[in-house]
Every structure is written in structure tokens, then in C-alpha cells.
Amino acid sequence: MTKRLIVILLAALCAHAAYALGEAVLDTVSSDFRLDEVQVTARVLSKDIIVPQTLKGEELQRLSVLTVADALRYFSGVQLKDYGGVGGIKTINIRSMGSQHTAVYYNGIQLGNAQNGQVDLGRFSLDNIESVELYNGQKSDIFQSAREFGAAGNIYLTTRRPYFRAGERIHVRAQMRAGSFALANPALGVDLRLTESLSLTLDAEYLYSNGRYPFRYRRVLPTGETAYDTTAVRENGDINAVRAEMGLHHYYSNTGFWRLHVYNYWSNRGIPGAIVNNVWRNGERLTDRNTFVQAQWQDEWFNRWSTRVLFKYANDFTHYRNYDERLLPANNRYTQQEAYLSFANRLQVFNWWDMSLAYDYQYNALARENLLLDAAPEHFYRHSHWLSAATAFNFREYIRLQASVLMTAVDQNTPRVTPGVFLSYRPYPKIDLSINAFYKQSYRYPTFNDLYYTDLGNANLRPELARQHSVELAYRKAAKVYDLALSAAYYYNRVTDKIIAYPKGQQFRWTMLNLGTVKIHGVDLNADASWYLPLRFTLRTRLNYTFQQARDYTNPADTYYTHQIPYIPRHSGSFVLGFDWQSRRGDHYGFNYSFIYTGERYCQQENTVYNYVQPWYTHDLSLYGEWNIRRYWLKANLEINNLFGQDYEVIQNYPMPKQNVRCTLAFRY
């Protein structure tokens, strides 16, 4: 209550100050959708209060990355959970708040998983992704759907937009990728210009890998003598996946457009499982299909009023089977449906003052079937409403302030209100140096699994609350021979009422409880630079470092009180070095080297020697050539990942691939 009051007071105070300042200039208003048509480069002053971490375009294509999850390893403050291999689940955890506090948006609309609240980012291919952006707190743009104010960390995936030069009607893309572990990954895409303003894109991709990669476990005695040293091949890690997408874009006026996107993903994979003593193969299989249709319409009136409508329908199907007769037999089918509607409005009251109001509604349904039992499927439903109000002030480019309030109502639960305040101060008009800060609260609602899982569910769960405090210093400079972006952020997050599995009564019957407090102190450092050298050489460097102290403050009686929470390293970081040479004809040749480091961690709550997990670091190298021949564009890329073949684990007992190779041939017309 007090917090809400403070926010309102603060907003009032700022409004008053705004009047006093008199004339103020507000950058951009309706350019929101236009901006994403244009390549935002480092030379443009950032419009965001909280500068997102971004990977886009060529830089993204030149990294050794196969999926969105691979790309996110290059962001600071992010920990990737990777179970290994092409088919292994990959989820991310932003600033140690837990992967369920992270929202992932595909072309502006959140990807949902009401069942477990996590999005497997290993499923999203980068082939048709134009940019990956990570916003801590929230996208500092008040014109957004209500739900976007809700998550603690946000990842925006934006697919490639068709771009036609005058007279062009069709573009074709074809790509073949092959590599270690029988990786075969052909992709095909077509862009059609149907009318002057209406275009259609079609994308399809197939992915296969047998997942049979060698791994090694070695232990030594304190004397240095080898205790054991064994190499085996990962089994049951095969994957077959097909992705097909269709997009329709219609820009009918300078201000208005609509888009329609249909997405379909189907996969059948093995779950290779944990490697434990005497078990080198597991028999779990997973088949799933994710389908969604989403639409967006946006327009603007009187240069002052903008409206955006979003709609989505998703239908996801998961079939899990355990064929390992040594284990609990399982044959479960889950069907999820999601319907989502968002209505967002923005009013530009003055040039320096914007207001927005948005309402979102979502319906979720889950059907759970145990095919081993003759029982009827169980059904679970959820209705969620979000209502957001936000305001933004810009004072002469010096100070920008945004405040938002989100009310979330899930089913019959008491609606909860969470505020967010974002502030940016730029002391020098000619220097792009800014001090950015935010405070934000966000709830993570219990998932269907938390609530209703057999033996495990607890319908009385409260949502988990994350409070974020963050201060950032950001600096950008664009000069003739270099572009530079530096940032340093300190944050303090507190997660309370953390939903954790807790044993209930006796004999391994678990339940979910609101039983956890985690305090997180973190520092993110980023340095990004492009150096334009003579003879058309370009050098790109990207450096990021993350320090995180994420400690458990649940109960002083616990043996792990104040211990670092599982799988959060104190130190992690990455370094990328890209070297590109452009010929006079416009061909490109270059290489890209990247180093990723994750420091020591613990796999359980207690930070003891028995739970210690070694640091890991990999060196990846890629070589490429790009050729323009008339209207054809050709690219060849060779990647060597884990160059020195480190035997590492991100998650304990899930070995990662040693050195592996991928090569890609891409063609565009």
C-alpha cells in the first residue's frame, strides 16, 4: 500500500516538475512500429530507459549459434540451463530470479506454457530471427500490452521482416546445415509481395540429429593418480523436428498496419536423462506440437492517440512416454489451449507526457491424460486478466521517467497490484551517457503443475513475488573509426514466497509451498565495440561479465542459510571477437571467436564439496564467406564448437558435447 502511494506521489511530483520545466521535447511518438522496420544502429541515441541487450542481424548470424538459447549465452545477467545436445531442454534464468520469471515474446506476443511456466528456448531456431533482445525489468515503452508489464525479465524475439526493393516481387531463401552427431538442418523460405503494401512470408525448417555424442567422465585421486576415466556415447538423444511459419504483413497507411502470424512446430525426441552409476541409457520419449496463430493491428489517430490490438490462439500438445521398463512406466498426454486478447491505448497528452492504458485477457486450458490408466482426462482451466496504466515524461532529453501499475487477477484470487518505476537521467546533452534506474515488482503465478500435479499440487499457493532494484550506467559513442557501447549495472533483487517443492508428510510425497526467500546482488558489465579499420577491415568485440551473489534467506535454521542458490555461478561472462573483411565487390570473409565462461556452482542448496560443480568454459570458432553474385547471395559458414573439447556439465550428470562441427550453406535470392 505504502509503495503504491509512493509511486503515485512520485508521479504527481514529476508531473508538477514537468509543468515547471515548460516546453519539453518528446522524441518519437508513433514511430514505434516504424522503428522496427529500420535497423536501429548504435548511432541512433537509444530511446529506451533501460537499454536492452541486443543481438541482431549479421552479428547474430555470425556467432556460432543454432538456437535462441545459444545466443542468450552472450548476454550478461543470464544463466542458461542446458541439458545437452540438440534436443536437450534449454531454459534461461535472468538475474537469478528463476526461469519462470522470464517472459519470452515472439513478435511481440508472449509465448506461454501454463503447464510449467518455462519456455524451452532450444526449440527456437535463429534462422528466421532478426533480433534477440533482453530487457531487464520491462521494455521501457509504455505503449505495450498489459501483460508485458508483468514479468521480471523479458526476451523479445523478432522474426525477419520482408524487405523489397522497387520492382521486387519475390525473395527465396534456402539453407542447408550439417554437422556432428548426424545433424541435418535444411531450411527454406519465401517472401512474396502480394500488393504494394501486403506481403507474405513462408518459412520451413527440418532438423534431425541422432544426438549420439561422446562424453567422458574422469576422476583423479588427491595424489593425481587416475581413479577412473571413462568415455561413452550419449544415447536416446535423437531429435526430429519440423517448423513451419507463415506471416502476412499489411501496412495500409503511414500509421496503421496489421500482421498475422501462424507458427507450427512438431518434434519427436528422446530424453537422454541423467548419467548415473550403472545407467548409460534412458528410455523416455517426448513428442510435441506447438501451434499458434497470432494477429496484431495497430493504428493512430489525431497524431495523439494510438491503439493496438493483439490476438493469439495457441494449441500445444505434449506426449510423454517412458519406455524404460526399469522405471515408473509413463504414457501421458497433455493438451494445452491458450486464447489471448490485448487492447492497448496510448495518449500523448503533451509532447512531453504520454499515458497508456491496456487490458489483457487470457484463457488457459490443460487436459491431462494418463494413457496407462483408464481414467478420463483431467481438465484444468484458468482465466487471467491484466489491467495496466502507465505514464511517461520526457524533460528536455535530460530526464525520462516512466511509471506503471499493473493489476493482475488470476481466477478467483485476490487481484494483485505491482508497480514499476523507471528513471533515466542524462547529464550531458552531447554525450550519450545516462544513469538509468528502476524499481519493479512482479509476480510469478503458480503454474498448472504447481497447482494440480499428482501428489504434488497445492491449490492454495500464492504467487511468488520478485522485487527488483537496479541502477545502470550506460555510455555510447559513435565515431568515425569505432562504435562503442559500455554499460555497468548493479542490481538487488529479492524473491519472496518462492514456490518450491517440499516433502509432505512421509515417503517422498512432495507438495509445492511458498517457502523461499532469495536475495540477489548482481553486477553486469558490458562492453561492445566495432572498430572500423583500414582496407575495409572491421573488428567487433563484445565482452560481458556477470557477478551474482544469490543467497538463500529462507530460514536461519537451514544448513544452507545464506548459501548461494543452486546453479548460479558467482562469476560468468563471455567474450566475442569478430573479424570481417569486405572486398571491393562487397563480398565478406571473416571469422568469429567466442569464449563463454561459467564459474563454479553448486548443484544443491548446500554449498558443500559434495555439491560442487566445476566451472566450464568453451571456445567456439566460426569461419565464413559471403558472396554477392548479381542478385544472388551465398554464404558458407564453418563452426567448430568447444574447440578444445572440454568435458563439462551445465547440469550435473548431463554431459555436454565435446568438440563438434557444423557447416552451413545459405542461398538467397
Binding site: Y217, R218, R219, V220, L221, P222, A227, Y228, T230, G273, A274, I275, V276, N277, N278, V279, Y323, E325, R326, L327, L328, P329, N331, L372, I431, T454, Y475, K477, L486, Y502, P503, G505, Q506, Q507, F508, R509, L525, A527, L543, Y545, D558, T559, Y560, H571, G573, F575, Y597, G599, E600, Q604, Q605, E606, T608, V609, Y610, P615, W616, Y617, Y648, Q652
Partner: protein, 624 residues
């Protein structure tokens, strides 16, 4: 200026990253040696193995060992003993048993029965899919297993028979759904069928298997979801049924007896009591196996987070707290009086406990020693006071020293040799020990032999040359009798005539011939010093002249060389008599060293001084 700023920032970032890399490099994955944590000063014989289950998929099954003798807890004992086992002990330890001198651990998600020697050194393994518990009969082990094909609509489990000599599966029998604990009674194997995989359709039977034909001959209906079965001292079976966690409550079913309505996470039977762990209400209940009535039971486990493992032995109850199941647990040891003796921090989910008795020498790192001998194995010290048989019993030869005199004493009195040594005059002593610690059990523990005899026709008088007994525990574990001594309180301890603080110095100078029958030095010749001082208690003279003979009054109890060896009780001692220097009783579970010194100080003319003779000693708890 900005350029300088940029450089500064860039360099600081680089420096931080560099320092991180420098300290954050990956090392070798080391198999850590286990380090003992001292948890108690109380000494018991043998040890206790603790199998910590570890969470599924974590590969953290861990076998810990508590050396009860030294009071040290060794985490990851198996890992240290078997560093070459690939991926260690395995995933989810589900049962641990000692049988025929070997340890058997059932590792559920590693699908194996791990077979170890009593020091937990790997001998072999038997692959059994989804194995749960193990029981034994003759030379066979029986392992229950959840194994059941997904294609099999019933998903019936099995019991496997394993030849313990060859470690191979010999036979298999299908039982009910998800069989758990099992036990053997009179050539029949009883296994509970839990139905644990069939939520809401739990099994409720016990399968009876005839071991000769290895077929299921009967299914006894007990109660819903039976998970544990134990046999009591009257060969009755106690079955813990967990119910369905909803409307059907848990209960303990005694086959052929009553039902007891109680949650029963675990059960242990000791003597005529069955201890039932009520995990839901966090209490330990005891029921009589005779009339099934509830007994008062003082152990309080209400402060536990999740009571889990339970073991009842003759002298202690061991109970574990699994905490939140994903962090280390705690092992508690209680006496039956409810007193908590000590606690030890374990691995994750300490579930299964196995007491190793004293027949294994687990203190060292070697193989088990020979079965204990009841006789003296070693003489540590021998220092007689000046006396007429000194240098004769045993005989001193030129060149002997204290060490060689001890060996000569051993030749006389160790290993039931039947010889004799003298302790000389007042204060002379011998210190000896056995090849094991002598336990302090009910009644007399130790017999010490001498050469006393009764006067003809009397048991009140005779030849009594009383020696006082001191005992000691090897507290510092150095194998030497340099630890505190405690006197075994004899009948004259509280007598006002007893001088408890007597000392006397014997000198070489004072060694003048006192008895023409023993024409040799009385001073111990192997001592290089010219004098030595002895101290202790001195008893009042007991000699009387009866019928012209010097005879002594035979003391009631508690002295060496006081009653004839044929009177076993009269020549035996109870370690419970031990008192400290101030006379306070001391509770010693075991002792390692025994010292006997001559407490009489009388010289009787021609027969010389009264001198305690020792001819041997016997640990009364070792059968021979």
C-alpha cells in the same frame, strides 16, 4: 577526457575478467578422501553404516561410516574406499544389510545390488532392474524389484534369488505390484506388494513364497499400500500399510494379530518391543510384541523436520531426520532412557542404517582380525615392587630391559599359558590387555587369575594376597596405556582402614638380603635407575595365625589373588565397579587396559612378603 574514461572502463573490465579467469579455472575432478568428524566421546564397539539415498538423478547415494569406537563420522566412506568405481555408489540407495560378513546395498536407480566386504570395499554387483530391498536365507539373497514392462497391464514386480557365492541371479518369481520390503521366516519369504505406481489403486497384499520351489503359494491381504515388513521375536510379521494418503488411514498390521491404527513411516523391532515411527505426527511409538500394548517410550522426535530412518539395537536407538530431502540430514543416537547421546550430520536423505558388531576391526584400514581371544594378548608394563620372587618370576637375565621383561610376562600369563608372575611387595604392578576391548555388559566382565587358596575346611581364611584392579580406555587411540585409570572398587574400598594415598620409594641401596631362601637381588635388575616410587592404595593387614599357620582373611570381592581360580565369580570383576580418583562411579562401555597392583603390605617371616601373583585373565564375554 571521454577517451580516457573509455580506456579506464575497458581496462577495468578486462582486469576483472582476467582475475576471474585466473582463479576460476577448472581443476581436476577429485575423489575426495573422507575425513572423520568427531561426534562423540562415548565408546561403543564396532560401527554404524549409514546409507544416504540421495535424490533421483543426482547420483548421490552415499555410504557413510560411523566408527562408534572412536566416535568419528566418515562421510562418503564408500567413495573413499572405492575411488575407482565409475560414477561412485550410484543413484538412490534404497536398502543396506549386513549378511555373512558382507554388506549389501540396494541402489534403486542404478539398478544394482552392490556387494561389499564389511569395510565397504567393492566385491561385485548384481544388476537387478528397479531393485528395492534385500533379505537373506542360507547362501541366497532375495531382492524385490518393481520391474514390470509397460506392455504388461498389471506391471507386476518380481523377487530375484541371488547366489551370494557367484553373485548371479538363480531364480525369479513374479509377485504383486511394486514389491517393497521382504523377510524370511521358516523357509518362507514374505514380501509386501505396495502398488506404489498405481496411485489410487494401491495393492494391499503380502506374497508368501516357498523358498524350496520359489513359487508364490499365497497372498495375504493386509492393508492398503504395504511398504514395510519385519519379523518380531515371536516370529510374527509386522506390516506397515501407508493407506492412500486420503480417506484410508495408515496402519500397522500384525499378521495373525491385531491392527494398530498409526502412521508408520518406519519400524524397528528390538527385543519384545516394536518401535513405530509416526512420521506425520513426528513421534516414536513402542508396542509390545507380546500383547501389542503401547509402551511408554521417552524418545522425543517432535523437533525433526522429517523423521526417516530408524534402527534399534540392544543398547541404542538410531533415528535420522531427512530434513527437506534435498539437503544433508541428521543422525541421532538415543539411549532407551530417552537421552540423546549424540548427533551427526549425514548426506542427503539418510535412510538406511546398519550396525557392524565388534567382530570386525574397523579401526584400521585392514582386513578383519582373528576372532577375539578371551585371554591376555599383551603385557604392556611390568614393574614389581622389591620382593623375594622378583627377578625370578619371570626370570631376569643379564641384558633384559623393561620391554623384554614384558615379553617374558606374556610367555607366562598371556594366551592361557598358565605361568605365573609376581608383583613383589606393595605397589608392584602389571599392565595387560586383550586383542580387543572388553565390553562392560551385564554382570562380571573379566576374570583375573592368581594362586590364592582356601585354608582346609574354610572359605573365610586362606592364602590371599590381594591386588587392586585398575582399568583404562584407549582414549587417545595410540594403543598405549597412557590414558586415565579407574579403580574397580573392591569390598574394602570404603573401609576406613584402607589408605588410598600411599606411596613408597624403593631403592637399590635398600636391597639387602632379607630371606635366606631367596638369595638374589630383590630390586628389579632391569631398571637402570637406582630408585623408583610407587603409589596407590594400601589395605590393612589381614593375616592371622590360625592353627599355627599364617593365614589371611579372604576378602569378599574385588581383589586379585584373593580367592581360588575355581571360584569364577570370586575372581571376576565388573567394569561397572569403576570409580574415578574421587570415588565417583564412571560408566565405561569398554576397556582396553587392565592394571593389577599389589595392595597388601605384610612381611611374614620366612614365607616372605605377601605378593599378588597373576597367572592369567579371561574376558568372560568371549566364548571359548
Amino acid at each position: 577526457m571521454h577517451t580516457r574514461f573509455q580506456i579506464l572502463v575497458t581496462w577495468s573490465v578486462l582486469c576483472i575478467l582476467y582475475s576471474v579467469l585466473l582463479t576460476g579455472c577448472r581443476g581436476e575432478d577429485i575423489v575426495y578422501p573422507t575425513i572423520g568428524t568427531h561426534v562423540t566421546d562415548e565408546v561403543r564397539e564396532g560401527g554404524l553404516y549409514v546409507l544416504c539415498e540421495g535424490n533421483m538423478g543426482s547420483n548421490k547415494a552415499r555410504l557413510d561410516y560411523l566408527n562408534l569406537y572412536a566416535g568419528d563420522y566418515y562421510a562418503n566412506w564408500y567413495g573413499a574406499q572405492n575411488p575407482k568405481q565409475i560414477k561412485e555408489l550410484g543413484d538412490v540407495g534404497n536398502d543396506l544389510q549386513l549378511y555373512g560378513g558382507r554388506l549389501y546395498a540396494v541402489i534403486n536407480c542404478s539398478h544394482k545390488l552392490e556387494v561389499m566386504d564389511h569395510l565397504s570395499r567393492h566385491i561385485g554387483q548384481v544388476d537387478i532392474p528397479n531393485c528395492r530391498y534385500v533379505a537373506f536365507h542360507g547362501d541366497k539373497a532375495y531382492v524385490s524389484a518393481y520391474v514390470g514392462s509397460i506392455a504388461d497391464p498389471d506391471m507386476l514386480g518380481s523377487v530375484y534369488e541371488i547366489d551370494t557365492a557367484t553373485l548371479s541371479i538363480t531364480r525369479e518369481v513374479k509377485v504383486g505390484h511394486q514389491p517393497d520390503e521382504l523377510c524370511v521366516v521358516d523357509d518362507r519369504l514374505y514380501v509386501v506388494n505396495s502398488g506404489g505406481y498405481l496411485t489410487d489403486r494401491y495393492d494391499s497384499t503380502v506374497s508368501v513364497i516357498d523358498l524350496a520351489s520359489f513359487t508364490e503359494i499365497q497372498k495375504i491381504v493386509v492393508g492398503l499400500n504395504p511398504t514395510r515388513i519385519r519379523v518380531d521375536n515371536r516370529k510374527h510379521l509386522w506390516v506397515c500399510c501407508q493407506g492412500n494418503y486420503k480417506n484410508i488411514p495408515p496402519k500397522v498390521v500384525i499378521i495373525g494379530g491385531p491392527h494398530i491404527e498409526t502412521p508408520c513411516a518406519n519400524i524397528a523391532i528390538q527385543g519384545s518391543n516394536a518401535y513405530v515411527m509416526d512420521g506425520e505426527n513426528k513421534r516414536l511409538r513402542a508396542f509390545s510384541t507380546i500383547d501389542y500394548s503401547e509402551q511408554t517410550q521417552p524418545i522425543d522426535i517432535s523437533s525433526y523436520e522429517h523423521p526417516y530412518g530408524l534402527l534399534a539395537t540392544a543398547d541404542a536407538l538410531y533415528i535420522t531426520d531427512a530434513k527437506n530431502y534435498v539437503s544433508s540430514g541428521v543422525l541421532h543416537c538415543y539411549g532407551y532412557d530417552g537421552r540423546e547421546h549424540w548427533t551427526a550430520r549425514t548426506g542427503d536423505i539418510p535412510g538406511h542404517l546398519c550396525r557392524i558388531a565388534e567382530e570386525y576391526d574397523l579401526h584400521g584400514d585392514t582386513t578383519p582380525i582373528q576372532p577375539s581371544s578371551p585371554y591376555i594378548s599383551r603385557v604392556y608394563e611390568y614393574l614389581p615392587a622389591m620382593g623375594q620372587f622378583v627377578n625370578e618370576l619371570p626370570e631376569y637375565v643379564e641384558g633384559d630391559n623393561a620391554e623384554s621383561m614384558c615379553r617374558k610376562c606374556e610367555q607366562s600369563i598371556a594366551n592361557n599359558a598358565g605361568g605365573m608372575i609376581t608383583l613383589g611387595g606393595w605397589g608392584g604392578y602389571v599392565t595387560f590387555g586383550f586383542d580387543h576391548a572388553v565390553q562392560n555388559l551385564e554382570g562380571r566382565d573379566l576374570q583375573i587369575l592368581g594362586n590364592a587358596f582356601y585354608m582346609t575346611g574354610s572359605t573365610e581364611y586362606g592364602s590371599s594376597e590381594p591386588g587392586i584392579v585398575l582399568v583404562s580406555r584407549d582414549m587417545n587411540k595410540n594403543g598405549l596405556p597412557d590414558d586415565p585409570w579407574y579403580e574397580l572398587k573392591g569390598c574394602l574400598y570404603d573401609d576406613p582402614t584402607t589408605d588410598h594415598a600411599f606411596t613408597r620409594t624403593y631403592t637399590r641401596e635398600g636391597d639387602t638380603l632379607q630371606n635366606p631362601f631367596h638369595n638374589h637381588p630383590y630390586y628389579p635388575q632391569w631398571i637402570s635407575e637406582d630408585q623408583y616410587t610407587l603409589s596407590g592404595a594400601k589395605l590393612a593387614p589381614q593375616t592371622q595365625v590360625i592353627s599355627g599357620q599364617n593365614v589371611q582373611r579372604i576378602l569378599d570381592y574385588g581383589y586379585v589373588d584373593n580367592k581360588p581360580n575355581t571360584d569364577i565369580e570370586g575372581t571376576s570383576f565388573d567394569i561397572s565397579w569403576a570409580v574415578d580418583a574421587d570415588g565417583n562411579p564412571v560408566s565405561l562401555p569398554t576397556i582396553d587396559f587392565v592394571r593389577v597392583y599389589n595392595a597388601s603390605d605384610e612381611i611374614l617371616g620366612m614365607t616372605g612378603e605377601l605378593s599378588t601373583e597373576v597367572t592369567g585373565a579371561i574376558d568372560l564375554h568371549i566364548n571359548n
